[in-house]
Symmetry: C2
Subunit: 110 residues, 2 copies
Amino acid sequence: MASEQTSLLQGTLDMLILKSLSAAELHGLGIARRIEQITQGTFQVKPGSLFPALYRMEEEGWLTSTWGESENNRRAKYYRLTKAGHRQLETETERWGRIALAIARALEAS
Amino acid sequence: MASEQTSLLQGTLDMLILKSLSAAELHGLGIARRIEQITQGTFQVKPGSLFPALYRMEEEGWLTSTWGESENNRRAKYYRLTKAGHRQLETETERWGRIALAIARALEAS
DNA sequence: CATGCTCCTATAGACGGACTAGAGAAGAGT
DNA sequence: ACTCTTCTCTAGTCCGTCTATAGGAGCATG
């Protein structure tokens, strides 16, 4: 994942992938596009970051995949969340909230 | 850095260290304590994470250090921000703001 | 004094996730 | 045929954090 020039948060990619799949199933590149869209261009996920993450998350049981055809008639692997994946999204969202709050407070401390 | 059980954000430790030194100079363990304090216990920085980070940041020119004596009469290395360090804190704070906003929006997207 | 505690700094080694930099297959357009 | 685009995938590397451990040195206690 790259945001502008520098590299970014660890563990956040998983959350964004989970979120991007929470509404509908998508194939790999579709996930990348959706992440860019919902973060308004702040995060651009490259294949070398995306696919290893998808593989890992499928291993964890958060995703399942099926082969299908893309909008452009290409062979594409569609991912969707499992129940565990939905739970994981909730967990990570909550966790993110705590962390963001803690850092916000830290940054405004005297 | 450990928050509760799991490991955490990459790059965030630097920002918290810079912030903890923005008001006054501190020695290593003092920095760890201050981070725990200003994040209200959310982040607990362990020596194995802290000292490599301090070393790296001094290499980058964001910190300088001088040996002194701690409140408890122990030999302690006191760190303070350089001008570049102050600038870096601003940069990272701004960056954090953008990222946090982007993720917040992503998470509330339909 | 000697034993052990706490404070403080430090390092080795491993781990893990993201990065760069490709490759390859296959449909679409010319 | 040729190239472009779409889509998936991998190798190899990098870098920051983690666990675990070490060790000096002040201080207290018996």
